[in-house]
């Protein structure tokens, strides 16, 4: 006997167990997954047959007032119900589409005048749970049973298991068969969790509450109750045990103290019913309680879940995907569509299914259209699939539904932050110091979130150099109201709306293939600034994957700086966990620095000063920590830099040499010697431009080095001074060009650094010196032109 009071032993006969579940009448059990086209189709039929006198749905009790509006005739799915604590924490979010069994059940009940009760544990009493916990099929536990089943069915994972056993097999089946299949999967997952894992305390708490509600209903005289409940929880309702007395008196494993504290002060819960969108319902956007490819699910539901309809839906989707591919300039014609749909249908029959499911559809498209290119064409196919299978459907509330959601939430939030609201005509200037004051931190994060939602409200007046404090101009305008209405589609709190906006940004960028390295950096920064920690964490993963290959050296260095800032906790809204911090410093940072070092090798031929500057930034970064050396070994960098100095373009030769001195790989004297020799070889035009490039490289890297290490400059100047005037003049343009890379101030500092050398001070006017030099040269040439025979007498008097 598990803590839930349900008997699950390894030697239970599955058939008998499912039979008991199916025959149960207090209540009649419809085990569902939160989204499921076949069950959404089956639910009204089952309810028609049973004609219950009370419908119980698995939603927290606080959502009860919304149920008539949810089932109202004018409502168009997708919509979402939400419940959140007044302070914005503990958000529970239930999106519904036409293919959600709960929505189908509520609609049926409202249409038939049957009372509906939201019989799940109230949010205010829940000690620990989340949307994810409340809407998933089963908790994540070691899953040997699912794995074994999955292996047999050629798939893996719980979601897939449901698809394989319920969704795909149900095509054309009777409603009662569908109900039994769903109950069986729920029972198996329950058994698995209870045997190899542990049913989470939050789930047990909710089940006790639900049993109590069922008992209360029969006490009231309800005769034929029906419950639409997660298939995983259905076996828990078999027990009549409701705990010692009522849920309030129970002590919960980890939440007892908090629960008793809460009894003293009731928690205020804000609920809302808002229109929703398919882009957000797609689970890949990471929004809670979504499902893959909602438009596909909609098509399957719309066809009434018959095999013929499923095949038609697959064919229609394939044709649309081929069209979308063509629009993006990739060939995909009728033969491709024909082969994809043949493959999908045949694959289904090979697997013993009456119609292709989403899995077969995706596999067929990958095989027939992607042509083995995961990146080029494969990406285009994925984008086309997303466009067609996700869809852009938007929901609408029935007329007369009370206003709720983001706008009321914002008004409350603004008054708490003392921000000007819609009734304040004048703007306000505010100076924020988010790292010191908690209120300022909340204000700063709110501003960042509004910005991400595209709501015009705050203008930055100035950011301090250290980015610690900032000044803002805040003002509520009519366009603020307008944009908030739009943002309300993405959530009921500002945090959720901002996160939604960011997730949509990703989806759109992926669809249009705009996910560049620069874009990713901006996205991570925005997510961190908004406090969307999970999202930022997910995006950070990409840094060690595609990003490493795509980014230029400059972008890599920017990424290093950003990761460093995040890891140190310098972004106000982003408080990384210890694990994340460790991951950032131990894995992400070294990986990025490693990639940057790789690119050092690619700089060999570069002529661009930005690249040299990026190299400098990288080296400075390395001097600050040993992360890079840990990945690659010191020898690796030596290797790259030596090669740069030996084989690089002139600019890179100079830069490489200077960097080696900075890192202590090369003695300053040696670089000085080399600089001098570069001056010497600058005899003809080609080598002079090389001289200019090399010197530029050195100067770019090492203006501070040259000031600090006289050994380098001394040798350079020694060589320059040894030149005679024509040789010097020949090299002068190259030297000038080289020193051009320094700012005037840097040049002056450089000059100051060499002033100690007295000979640079002219004792005579330059014009006079030039004349003397010209005279000397003329004399020299005249002497050289003389007949040596004629000169010989001079030595023999």
């Amino acid at each position: 006997v598990t803590p839930a009071g349900t008997t699950v032993a390894a030697d239970v006969d599955p058939r008998a167990a499912v039979e008991t579940l199916a025959a149960w009448r207090t209540p009649f059990l419809i085990g569902v997954r939160h989204h499921s086209p076949v069950l959404a189709t089956a639910v009204p039929i089952l309810l028609d047959l049973l004609a219950p006198d009370l419908l119980l749905v698995e939603m927290p009790a606080e959502l009860q007032p919304w149920l008539p509006w949810l089932g109202a005739d004018g409502l168009e799915a997708p919509v979402a119900l939400a419940a959140v604590r007044a302070d914005g924490s503990g958000l529970l979010f239930y999106p519904y589409a036409d293919f959600s069994p709960e929505l189908a059940a509520v609609r049926w009940a409202v249409r038939h005048g049957v009372p509906v009760e939201a019989f799940d544990l109230p949010v205010s009493r829940a000690t620990h749970d989340s949307t994810e916990q409340r809407t998933r099929l089963a908790p994540e536990t070691p899953a040997p049973l699912s794995e074994a089943l999955g292996k047999q069915l050629g798939t893996a994972g719980g979601g897939d298991l449901w698809d394989r056993l319920v969704e795909v097999r149900a095509a054309g089946a009777r409603a009662e068969e569908v109900r039994r299949a769903a109950l069986a999967v729920g029972w198996a997952l329950r058994l698995e969790t209870a045997t190899w894992g542990q049913v989470p305390a939050g789930d047990l708490q909710r089940e006790v509450w639900m049993r109590a509600r069922v008992a209360a209903a029969s006490e009231r005289g309800v005769e034929r109750p029906a419950a639409v409940i997660g298939a995983f929880h259905a076996p828990a309702l078999l027990s009549t045990e409701v705990g010692a007395a009522s849920p309030q008196q129970q002590t919960w494993p980890s939440g007892g103290r908090r629960a008793s504290a809460r009894r003293e002060k009731p928690v205020e819960i804000v609920t809302s019913l808002i229109p929703y969108a398919f882009e957000l319902l797609d689970s890949r956007t990471g929004y809670p309680a979504g499902i893959h490819d909602p438009e596909w699910q909609q098509a399957v539901w719309h066809g009434g879940c018959t095999p013929e309809a499923a095949i038609r839906a697959a064919q229609a989707s394939i044709v649309r995907i081929c069209r979308a591919l063509r629009e993006h300039g990739h060939p995909a014609g009728v033969p491709d569509a024909r082969e994809s749909s043949r493959l999908a249908v045949t694959l289904a029959s090979l697997r013993g299914l009456s119609a292709p499911g989403r899995g077969e559809l995706v596999e067929a498209l990958q095989t027939c259209l992607a042509q083995g290119e995961p990146h080029g064409r494969g990406r285009a196919v994925a984008a086309a699939m997303q466009q067609v299978l996700v869809g852009r459907r938007r929901g609408q509330l029935a007329t007369g539904t009370p206003r709720s959601g983001l706008v009321p939430h914002i008004e409350g939030l603004f008054s708490a932050l003392r921000f000007p609201g819609p009734r304040d005509a004048a703007g306000v200037e505010m100076r924020l110091d988010p790292l010191r004051s908690e209120l300022d931190r909340r204000r700063y994060v709110t501003i960042q979130r509004l910005d991400v939602c595209g709501v015009p409200y705050a203008d930055a007046l100035s950011l301090d150099v250290d980015q610690l404090t900032s000044r803002w101009w805040l003002r509520w305008t009519p366009s603020t109201s307008a944009m908030l209405e739009l943002a309300g589609l993405r959530g009921v709190t500002l945090a959720q709306a901002a996160e939604g906006a960011l997730r949509l940004r990703r989806a759109e960028a992926e669809r249009d293939q705009r996910v560049t390295a620069r874009w990713l950096l901006a996205q991570i920064e925005a997510a961190a600034e908004c406090g969307a920690v999970e999202l930022a964490q997910a995006e950070l993963q990409a840094l060690t994957r595609e990003f490493r290959q795509q980014a230029t050296l400059v972008e890599l260095i920017d990424a290093v700086e950003l990761v460093d800032r995040l890891g140190r906790g310098h972004v106000p809204a982003f408080d990384p966990s210890i694990e994340l911090r460790e991951q950032l410093t131990d894995s992400t940072l070294p990986s990025l620095i490693g990639a940057a070092l790789n690119q050092v090798e690619g700089l060999v031929g570069s002529q661009r000063t930005e690249d040299a500057q990026a190299l400098l930034a990288l080296v400075q970064r390395l001097q600050r920590g040993d992360a890079g050396a840990r990945v690659l070994g010191d020898s690796r960098l030596r290797w790259a830099l030596e090669r740069l100095e030996r084989e690089g373009s002139p600019l890179m030769q100079g830069a490489g040499g200077a960097v080696r001195v900075l890192l202590g790989h090369l003695a300053p004297e040696a670089l000085g010697e080399r600089l001098g020799s570069w001056v010497d070889v600058g005899v003809e035009r080609g080598s002079q431009s090389a001289l200019a490039g090399r010197l530029r490289g050195v100067l770019l890297m090492a203006a501070p080095l040259l000031e600090a290490a006289p050994a380098v400059t001394r040798r350079l100047f020694a060589r320059i001074e040894a030149l005679d005037d024509p040789a010097f003049l020949a090299r002068l343009p190259a030297l000038r060009e080289a020193f051009d890379v320094l700012s005037p101030a840097a040049r002056q500092r450089f000059l100051d650094g060499t002033r100690e050398d007295e000979r640079l001070v002219l004792e005579y006017p330059p014009v006079l010196l030039a004349r003397w030099a010209a005279g000397d040269r003329a004399g020299w040439e005249a002497a050289a032109g003389l007949d040596t025979e004629a000169l010989s007498w001079g030595s023999e008097p």
Binding site: Q152, G154, L347, L350, T367, A370, Q371, S591, V631, L632
Partner: protein, 383 residues
Amino acid sequence: VTSEPQANSARASRPQLLPSETVHAEELRFLAAWDSGARPPGWLLTPRAVVAFIVGSGDEAVEVGPRALTISPKFVGDRSLIERCVVTLAGERGLLLVGEPGTAKSMLSELLAAAISGTSALTVQGTAGTSEEHLRYGWNYALLIARGPHPEALVPSPILVAMESGQIARVEEVTRCLPEVQDALISILSERRLSIPELSGEGGLAYAQAGFNVIATANLRDRGVSEMSAALKRRFNFELVEPIGDFELERRLVERQAAAALARSGATLTVDESVLTALVTAFRDLRVGRTAEGWAVEKPGTVMSTAEAVGVATSLGIQAAYFEDSEDALTLLPGYLLGVVRKDDPRDQARLLGYWDAAVKRRADAGMKLWARLWELRGRIEG
């Protein structure tokens, strides 16, 4: 003197490797009897039986009447991949297997051909020297000159043979052929016939019989599929064959194959399990550029395939078997790893050193004995 005839007879017939249809003849016969369902025209087995032949029957035996046989797994990987391959071959497009070198693409194509047609011998190896003749037909010039164009003088390519007999033809490394030569496959795959203009009358057109199809393989390293013409690409369904995802599966595969290779050379595998674990771990870390612990390491440019790992394990085994006084396998491992890595790019040696300095050292520091020993051997890869 007495041992000589024996040696001779041994020399006479000891093929190093037998084709799949011979090695697994019993399983194939068994599976043909097992599933009596509908077969695509020209196929020896049902699609379901072909899948079972390749992925194996798991722990359960397949039963036909009183007899039972456990089908051995022959390809380690995704079952749905095999299902897609089989379904593709029953249709009108060819199957193109792409992937990194050493992901068992050729083996998969051999198994598919053996199961569907009973032979894997109708194979063309694509090289830069492959000409249209190898894909279409050639002539026996002596006969051609003696008797003129005549069906007997025709030398059919393996593909033409497969067409006329309704079997599966294989083209290995199709992308190594010049694109113009590859395109000879277009008309074969789309029209399913081959015209032989030199022969007049009925002999001038060869029709593909039911059961014919083409499996081609291409590796993503050398030239990839980018130079393949769009027209030819459209005649193929593509399947990307990935390296083995699961560590334990890969380790067992390496052990099994190395043992089999050693058995062929008359020795037994004596390499320690922990050495194999280290070997496979290093290969996997370097292949994906990330260690099992999640630390970043640098990927070398060389392919770190399972096949290469088998090669190293086999070499270690041979060295242990024939050189009794050689050092232990773990001591030899760094040298062999270096040999695998330093193939295309001399910088890969530095990358391997980097792996040692990063991952091996950290594991050694964490007190893992095996890795501590490997860390001590760092000098062996510096050379």
